[in-house]
Symmetry: C2
Subunit: 418 residues, 2 copies
């Protein structure tokens, strides 16, 4: 049985890296990341000023962010730390979107200092920003359609989500901005996460295009960009099909011609804020089999744990696993692949058919490039692993060192125990 | 309406701390922690050599561990970092139990170096330890009863859990140990987590007492301690009732007299490994209201997030909330209390009736002393908060500083971006 999700690097490459760096480690594929950026840019090349603001939370590593910056992406930041990362790699001004919620003053201040686009989550934030730091020239609002929109399976029902303005609040909000002298306006929503049905994004465009047209008509407020949010999913399972970006781009182009041009809103910039689709498929968690266990089920124990990758444990998420060098061996052993955390759900796979695995074998866990290392914790005293980058020239570069025990103890003072 | 879960410190104390330390912070109550230790010790005072090994993973702070050590508790460690913490506060030898699973060599080595009791999770670990570091004089096994036992709601079905030996493996394992010259033996299980029904622990004692008797009879292997595990729950909800420790201790005492004495196993040490019941009720997350939001639901935004306390977000766990100074105000506002993470489930309470909350009010989140700070992550670039201890003498001591951005960036090298 051939591997339905082939690796983008050779077995020898991974083995060589695993000799130099102790497992587990993350390995990112620069070429793949660049290709994802280019596919998305190409699908929206019809749109003047199109930009995908890379959702930094997915992979908050400056070396990765720097690659996507070279591909003309911006940064979507949700906190001061993420803004600092953007600044460190040379992003500033409207290359940065600040989309946060329940935001404290110091984070708004950091965003304003960087000149980032302020995308406000709540109508009360107009006063909050105005009083604490002053409203900037350009302000965007996040729209929450509530029951007017279904949301997708992952993100849940919009009316139960804590984000955004209602429609009434949007109109009231833009009116207030205008009265207070704000001159430039944006409109944003985010109603999907990890969605593979391209129609979802087309419908989101329709919703925002319609809103932008009505806002112009009713308030004489001209929205200059709509941010359709992120949420483009990736095919975690072998049978999943990636979103056809070109088709989505084309359909949104048609809607643009049908709705935006006649409304007199052209040119209107279309922007996105995808993270997962940019880095998700191009990051791999490489781990080593250290134990076998046979009790009421069969277990393969690896040296990674939920501390390295939480998604299977907390969401039950599927991540494909390739046993290096055994891609073509019969996948006839049904096992749970587990880490060493004292947590029942510390399992990377449950009842998965894999080839016979020997102690020392390398397991490559796919699609870990987004919301992987970034969500790691240190529960049970576990240390987070290194991140490595397979560069386009074939060299492997360490882009984040593994944590040490000194890191783990950094916030503690042991003086009284000496 | 009076607060059904009164705080152990005055409003003035918390306000004074909140002036000195930026919210959010953890505040632990030394007196309460000591009382929990003493209640448990007292309930088992009939048992010679009784010890609760405090589950370090619950609250891996050396200052807390040092308090429980003064109360004669040991440490239950699951990793090298936890063993290092135990060593730093002066615990060693059989004051430390090493209960891990899918364990790498270096962690077994650290445990052996400290003289900790090795509690093996799997039959293959006998050879693994023997070959890699040699078997110590005393070895314990973790038993997984499989379908012979129900498990409790939280920990799930034992036959689906990755832990422990089957019964057949136990007998085979002790036989092997004996052949290889091991002279001292322990027996452990852990089938409950956060269980409030005291009978559960009595039944676990019955199960292990019966096993120990049969092991003596069939193998002439004398178990010297049974570790009944941890899992004593705490009353998170106001209507929950704490476990009657004295009653549980007495019932286990009776079983001991009925089963262990006639089996010729007396003296058999009874030990436990509770973490949550020791620190859980005595740690509070103090956070401040920074925003209100009214869309399809009513929200109170606080300056803590899932990064500080994950249990509500990932388990839907209930944590009681006291609005400081408003304990007696009518609780007639139904709100979601939310953090600032870009995660839908970053909510500390959903549809909770609370008093009218003003911006700046302090909210005290109860029962956060175990698996609280310890499970924190840095997702969205959030920093983990400080831990403070209200000492018995009334002074407040910082026992862990808050993280800084330098901590967040510690594993990154920005040289190439300068």
């Amino acid at each position: 049985m051939s591997n339905p999700k082939p690796l983008p690097f050779s077995e020898a490459t991974v083995r060589a890296v695993a000799e130099d760096f102790p497992t587990p480690f993350y390995l990112y594929n620069e070429k793949g990341i660049r290709e994802s950026c280019r596919s998305l840019n190409s699908a929206f090349s019809w749109s003047d000023g199109f930009r995908n603001y890379f959702a930094v939370k997915a992979t908050p590593n400056p070396h990765i962010m720097s690659i996507v910056k070279e591909e003309s992406l911006g940064a979507d930041c949700s906190s001061r730390a993420e803004l600092m990362l953007a600044e460190k790699i040379g992003l500033r001004g409207e290359q940065v979107m600040f989309t946060s919620n329940n935001t404290p003053v110091f984070e708004f201040q950091a965003a304003k200092d960087l000149g980032a686009v302020l995308n406000l989550d709540d109508i009360t934030h107009i006063d909050f920003v105005d009083q604490n730091l002053g409203l900037p020239e350009l302000v965007s609002f996040r729209y929450n359609p509530g029951s007017a929109r279904e949301g997708n399976v992952i993100i849940g029902k919009p009316e139960e989500a804590k984000y955004g303005f209602t429609e009434d609040q949007l109109f009231e909000g833009y009116r207030t901005l205008k009265e207070r002298g704000v001159r430039r306006f944006g409109l944003h929503t985010m109603v999907a996460s990890n969605e593979l049905d391209g129609s979802f994004f087309v419908e989101t465009a329709r919703m925002l295009f319609d809103l932008a047209a009505r806002i112009l008509q009713q308030l004489d407020v001209r929205i200059e960009f709509v941010n359709l949010g992120g949420g483009i999913g990736i095919p975690y399972r072998p049978e999943d099909k990636a979103v056809d970006l070109k088709a989505v781009g084309d359909r949104i182009h048609s809607l643009y011609d049908e709705m935006i041009v006649p409304a007199g809103l052209d040119p209107l910039r279309v922007v996105l804020e995808n993270g997962r689709m940019i880095t998700g498929p191009h990051g791999y968690l490489v781990t080593r089999c250290i134990h076998h266990k046979q009790i009421y089920r069969n277990y393969v124990g690896v040296d990674a744990s939920m501390a390295n990758l939480m998604r299977p444990g907390i969401y039950g998420a599927y991540h494909h696993i390739t046993v290096l060098g055994k891609e073509d061996a019969p996948h006839n052993k049904v096992v749970d692949v587990v880490g060493s955390l004292c947590e029942n759900n510390d399992k990377f796979a449950i009842g998965r058919a894999l080839p016979e695995i020997d102690r020392g074998d390398l397991l490559v866990i796919h699609d870990a490039g987004a919301h992987g290392h970034a969500m790691g914790f240190q529960y049970n005293g576990k240390l987070r692993s290194a991140e490595l980058l397979l560069q386009e020239n074939g060299d492997v570069k360490q882009i984040r060192r593994a944590e040490t025990y000194d890191d783990y103890f950094a916030t503690l003072d042991f003086a009284e125990f000496d």
